[in-house]
Symmetry: C2
Subunit: 411 residues, 2 copies
């Protein structure tokens, strides 16, 4: 029959809902800080710096040529002009990487390649275009000021300067800065370990036979992909059935192994209450229901001092909560300071919102200028699969008009 005794607990609704701001505040307050590890710069991209990177050398650490041309003493060229070239003696040619021991004397020049070190006493480079070389003499057709076409010591990075600050999320260009300094190791926060668990008697694993009433697990895979993209280490706790003992055991396993336990709630009758009961039994319940649409049935608490967060069962709600709550939390745990990216667009149609609720509105950007709201409902994973960003509708906003300019946060 599939009918079970009627339960009373369905009626227990949510109490006062926590606002998005309160929820973040509570999660951030209980956020652990993960330790720093030493990695080679090549391994550090996407991670958060755990040190102020101070330059121990100047970059460049010698005066070098910015051009192919002739290294000169600028004062020797002051009289030079197209109509009245001056002639310098060519002493030799300097390639990058060589060590020069001979300084330049008055009336002399060196052929020099881009990146090669200037000889002592030389202070400028005349570009090859303005010269004419004949055996060991070079005619200079243009005067240069001291410092012309020269890259000075420390002009890229000054010794002693903090060139990358702690908390920076490292991009390829920052890896380049570490390389320029010759760093073999750099301190970054290790990836956050997240224990991930799906709950629900109706949930099937990929490849299992689909029977009536059952559904494939979506949230585990969606959230796992998002976590991995954000450099987290995902510890799979598998699938828990909707019973208290099984849930307790999994959560305690997760607490042992991870920095954070994440459940994607089964959507069972009173399912979120089950998670709530378990958290209450094992630790402290901090949040039960948030004023966010979609995403209301969100729950959070601490067990042995570690955060346990229950996401809604609806796939879109689980993933939208990831973007608005978990991604900032993970960054906070890593001590990172990256700002989300926004672009501006005009809404293609009017959108109504509920006063008192923060709303997550998935949109598809078209031509970079129009934002089309996607509204297949929070149970539809395709709502987000069609979107490439979202609009954050504040708690006090009742309507966004057609053609209104909105800030779109990009995935």
């Amino acid at each position: 029959m599939g009918c079970v005794p009627i339960k009373q607990k369905m009626k227990t609704g949510f109490g006062r809902l926590a606002s998005l701001g309160e929820t973040k505040g509570i999660l951030f307050k209980h956020a652990p800080q993960v330790e720093s590890i030493e990695v080679s710069p090549g391994q550090a991209v996407g991670f958060v710096l755990a040190e102020d990177v101070r330059a121990e050398i100047d970059v460049p650490h010698f005066v070098k040529s910015a051009m192919d041309g002739y290294a000169v003493r600028a004062e020797d060229t002051f009289e030079a002009a197209d109509s009245r070239p001056i002639t310098l003696n060519l002493i030799g040619s300097i390639e990058p990487g060589v060590r020069l021991e001979r300084a330049i004397d008055r009336g002399e020049c060196f052929e020099i390649a881009t990146g090669a070190p200037l000889p002592q006493e030389a202070d400028a480079v005349v570009m090859v275009e303005y010269t004419e070389q004949k055996e060991s003499e070079v005619k200079i057709r243009r005067s240069v000021a001291p410092g012309a076409n020269v890259v000075g010591i420390g002009s890229d990075i000054k010794k002693g300067e903090v060139v990358l600050p702690e908390g920076m999320c490292l991009q390829p260009s920052h890896i380049g800065v570490l390389a320029a300094l010759g760093r073999e190791k750099v301190a970054v926060r290790r990836g956050v370990k997240v224990a991930l668990l799906s709950t629900g008697d109706e949930i099937l694993s990929p490849g299992e036979r689909l029977t009536p009433g059952k559904i494939y697990d979506i949230n585990y895979w969606t959230i796992e992909a998002a976590l991995r993209k954000d450099n987290c280490e995902v510890i799979s706790l598998g699938l828990a059935k909707d019973d208290i003992e099984s849930l307790k055991e999994k959560i305690l396993d997760g607490i042992k192994l991870a920095d954070l336990v994440l459940l994607s709630g089964g959507s069972s009758l009173g399912g979120s209450d089950l998670v709530g009961e378990v958290i209450k039994d094992l630790g402290e319940l901090l949040i039960h229901g948030i004023a966010v649409k979609p995403g209301k049935p969100t729950i959070a608490g601490t067990v042995q001092g570690k955060l346990v967060i229950g996401l809604p069962g609806y796939p879109m709600s689980a993933l939208s909560n990831y973007y608005i709550l978990l991604q900032p939390l993970i960054l906070k745990i890593m001590g990172g300071k990256k700002e989300p990216r926004y672009t501006e667009a005009k809404l293609s149609r009017k959108v109504a919102s509920t006063i008192g609720r923060f709303e997550f509105l998935p949109v598809r950007l078209q031509g970079g200028e129009r934002a089309l709201p996607i509204s297949k409902g929070s149970s539809a994973i395709t709502s987000l699969a069609l979107a490439n960003g979202f609009v954050e509708i504040g708690e006090n906003v009742e309507v966004l008009n057609k053609e209104e300019k909105v800030k779109v946060r990009l995935f």
Copy 2:
């Protein structure tokens, strides 16, 4: 002394420079297509789909409740109102995942949880807020239309529909779609194998002792980080000295192992000509110098049908070329169709540009609205480390004014 015999080749300049459009066209024409591989959806995030993903099931594949409440036959509720509730017989309770065999009869209802399957003949759900239950009777205070609070078969994904098209770059929400379909495997293009090589006698590896005239290798690490972020497999060819035989050997090694060989040029006298000579000897030289600032000394050709690309030695130029040329090329090789992301901002100052040259202008976005041009010069890696995006200045643009609106492409 560090002086070597004077060479003539420094004078060999670039011929006609290829425009950015031409350069892309030539590279794309010679882009290989990498084979597709089968991976589990969990491994596929960030990769490009190599198949049209067609739904083999409806999602959901049964009618389910969108709310906690009571499953009813809508017509039984048509007379219901707050002032005049109607009463239905409560038959049982339905949890998600159960298989129901009993249909609903006239005048009956089932307690039902969000996500649970509706019994046969039921066509709507009354939200628990509008009901009152007393033992085996439920008072219904509001009428519902057929389909109310119900998620229909295929409302998220319809069986037979192509739900993710070939060429899509997979994000977490797309992994969710694959999971919803119960897919165990998905065909994606494998990561592009790039053989990477630094050249230059002046180049040191991290940790080596810095001596006058030498510099640490920046480009290898910067480009490697960028490639890895884009899911490429990097094959290190190490460091080549500036001599033809050593370069040839390395390039031929790379051709054997990779889809593409990438050299970051030593900035030695005539260094790019050396790469050009080697490419000419081994295969065909296609591009020698491009009308892009920075980034002019870029070289490309084919060896045994595979692309060999020489990037400029200047760190900023090498990385800016990565963003404007290599990233699109890699996406092309994977058959991907991802669009770059832009945001709009106002320039904080006037910027002059050269007619006939495409210019890459790194900027730092402030407050999401102002773009501050960063101009430390193309030899400075910090130019890009300070930026979080860039403006693409077209070939026919001579000036961008202060306060002018520009499109900023985000890193």
